[in-house]
Structures are given as structure tokens and as C-alpha cells.
């Protein structure tokens, strides 16, 4: 077992998901209290044209504000950030966002691996990485990187995931700390408050 976790141990939460992610995200984000003391950064794969609507829907279902990332904006606590479609999201050491349109990684842009790897470099052990439902392998390498840097890693229990490919791939690649259903993931995050 790993160290027990307290609020001050973390600076940010990153979440990656793909097919089926919308419902899973709604479940988790709607459970977060308005005073949630961390920034949450999400890559949800989606169609290039789906601009903006995901943020609007999620904003309607949860009490903390949800917005799409803008280039060079500073990371703030208590905000849920969504990767915009057709851009990769990276974090700078000064905790500002940096977008890129580099070629696709794992056939996708935004890529979960890119966000997770750069967040791991910035936050090291003060980061929670979560992989949810999805039908591809994106995110495994990134989760592994978070784990190597000493961060906390969570994978949605594949038996409960709408699509289990992504959770299974992550479990195969990284030696994760927790395998949890959606309710337990919500509980985990709420316990950090």
C-alpha cells in the first residue's frame, strides 16, 4: 500500500477518457463541490466539429465552472478545464497552459498521453491521474509517466466501464494505485477536499 493521501499532497487532477466518457465525466464532475480546491484538466476524445458543446453540457451538470483551455492561460484551482478539439494540451513549468497542433498521437488530437506526460513533468508526485472508459490505448503511457514521477494513479474498473479497452490498456502498462468504479472515484476526489 502506498502513503495515505491528504489534500495538501496534490496540486492538480488530470482525467483522460474516450468513448463513453461523457456519462462517466458527468457522474464524477457533478459530485464535486463548488469549493473543490484543485484544478481538473480533462482530455475527452471527440469529433473535430464538436466544438464547445461538451463544455456547455458539463457546465450545466456541475457546480464548479467548466471551460475549454485557451493558449497561455494560467491554471487556476476550482476550475474544470477541457482540451479543445483539434489541439493538444500541455502544461508549462510556470503553470500556464500551452496548446499545440503537432501531429496526432495515438491517432488523436488532443492526446491524453501528451497532457499526462507534461502534467507529470510539472507536478511530479503532486498529481492525480485518472483513466476512464474508452475504446483505444491513449493515456497508458501518460499514466505510466505519472506513476514514475510518484503521482497517484487511478483506473476505472474495466468491469464497470462502458468501453473497457482503455482501462485495460492502462492497467497493462502502468502499475496503478487504485482500480475503482465511478462512485468510488467520486468519493476519492471528495475525500481530498
Amino acid at each position: 500500500m502506498k502513503k495515505f493521501t491528504r489534500k495538501k499532497d496534490f496540486d492538480a487532477i488530470v482525467i483522460g477518457c474516450s468513448a463513453g466518457g461523457m456519462d462517466a465525466l458527468k457522474h464524477i464532475l457533478s459530485s464535486l463541490p463548488i469549493n473543490f480546491p484543485f484544478p481538473v484538466i480533462i482530455v475527452q476524445h471527440r469529433h473535430v466539429d464538436s466544438d464547445g458543446y461538451l463544455a456547455v453540457i458539463l457546465n450545466d451538470t456541475c457546480s464548479i465552472p467548466v471551460k475549454e483551455v485557451e493558449d497561455k492561460e494560467p491554471l487556476r484551482t476550482g476550475i474544470v478545464y477541457l482540451a479543445p478539439s483539434n489541439y493538444h494540451v500541455l502544461l508549462e513549468k510556470n503553470r500556464h497552459f500551452a496548446l499545440s497542433i503537432d501531429e496526432k498521437v495515438n491517432y488523436t488530437r488532443p492526446s491524453i498521453d501528451i497532457l499526462f506526460e507534461s502534467a507529470a513533468n510539472v507536478f511530479q508526485e503532486r498529481l492525480v491521474g485518472i483513466i476512464l472508459t474508452g475504446a483505444n490505448h491513449d493515456g497508458s503511457q501518460g499514466l505510466k509517466r505519472i506513476q514514475e514521477q510518484g503521482g497517484e494513479t487511478i483506473v476505472q474498473d474495466p468491469d464497470t466501464a462502458e468501453y473497457n479497452t482503455m482501462p485495460l490498456a492502462a492497467l497493462k502498462t502502468a502499475n496503478v494505485d487504485h482500480i475503482l468504479g465511478l462512485q468510488k472515484i467520486s468519493n476519492f476526489l471528495n475525500d481530498l477536499v
Binding site: D51, K72, Y87, L90, L91, E92, H96, S100, E103, E117
Partner: protein, 274 residues
Amino acid sequence: MNEQTQDIEIDLLLEAMFRKYGYDFRNYARASIERRILHQLSKSGLSNISEMQGRLLADKEFFKRMLLDLSINVTEMFRDASFYVAFREKVVPYLRAHPFIRIWIAGCATGEEVYSMAIVLQEEGLFDQTRIYATDINEEVLQIAKEGVYSLENIQEYTLNYQKAGGQKAFSDYYTAHQDTAVITPSLKTHVVFASHNLVHDAKFNEMHLISCRNVMIYFNQTLKDRVLKLFHESLCPLGLLCLGSKESVQFSAYENQFDPLIKDEKIYKKKGF
């Protein structure tokens, strides 16, 4: 490897590149540049960044490959359809007021954005009174831009983009298929000048009515972005327009107050009068 050591190695590599070859990536967005360098390292078979530095100083071809890899040239025709819709509706009427229009597309990559804008201006009857200056740091992509020969594979996507962007004609009017390529129709090149220009240190070269610099400054850090916004500000005529990429803005920069949003959602700004 120790994070700090790697940071030092990257600093030295960028310094070497600048002093030996004059290309200055020191104020590029660090997270991206670091990713590119590590990517290059894993392809090179060398064991660390310091070794890359040695190789770079000794081998110009190696530098050239690195340069290509560091300047991300990903682009497409009619990227962000809603931008071109807004351009037609709100920017074209503004441009119409000028008897002669000068447009600067900075960081034009392989030219797809240039020809997209040329198509809109031609359809709106403004192209003949326009001069487009299309610039990039990278000579190889400029060559492709000049030739205007693209892979036929992408044309289906571009046709869709064109229609969503408010295009009324058959997109096939704008190219001829030749084997597996699409050759841009020569009339779209008539008022375009392609030239090499480095935003890091090159100066203003004309007074512009509109500058489009989309998805270029995302690769710059705040210091360099401020410098480039200053250059754009100087290069624009009073009330001239600045178009940025859909997730960029003049916010978070020292020049925030020098521009007013014209179409906020599409990141089209107007230089303040006084």
C-alpha cells in the same frame, strides 16, 4: 534522468543552435520544444541531449533535420469553418472600404491557409485589389506553398471544410487533379508573394490592413508572443485587423489593451485608433 540536468542540456542545445546557425528557439514554449527535442533524441539513436548538441554543431544536415522537426507545419484548408464564415460576413465589408488591400499571413506553413483566404477574397470580388504577403521561417514549406501542389487524399476533407465555411461554388474549380495530387489553380497565386520572414528578429516590412497569424504563437512563450504582438501592432494601419487561431487571444499579454475584439469568438481583433 535528473530533471534539472535535462533542463540545462536543453538550454545549451538551443543556445548552440542559435549561435551556430542563427535560429533562435530560446523563447519558444518550453513544454512543446522539450517534447520535440526528446522525440528527436529517441529517433536519433544518440544517448542524451548533450550528444545531440555535439552532433548539431558538427553536422549541418543534422541541424536541418532538427529545424524541420522543431517547426511544426501542420495546417489545412479552411481550418475552423466558423472563422471563414465570420471573415466573409464581418471582415470582407471592412476590407471593401480600401481601394488597395495589404494582407500579411505570418507563419503560413505549406500555404493552405493562404489559398483558403485567396478563394474567399476572389469569391467576394476583392482579390484583384489585394496583395497577400505570406511568410514563414521555414524555406522548405515555403517552397511547397509556392508550388501549391497538395495530396489528393486531403481534398475530400477540404471540400467539406470549404462548404461549411460558406463556399458556394464547386471546390473542384480551385484545383486540377493530377495523378494523386491536387494542383492549385494559378489564378489563386496571382496576388500572393511568398517570402521568408522570422518573427523572432525580422522587422516590419509594410503597412498592413490585416494580419493573420493563426496557430503560430501557441509555440512561443509569453516574452516572444509580446514581441510579435508589438511587431504586428506596428505593422497594422490604424484600425487594422489581427486574426489569431481559435484558442489564442491577446489576453494574458502586454498588448491586451492595444486591440479591441471585433469578433470575440473568432479571435479577430481591431487595432485601437489612438
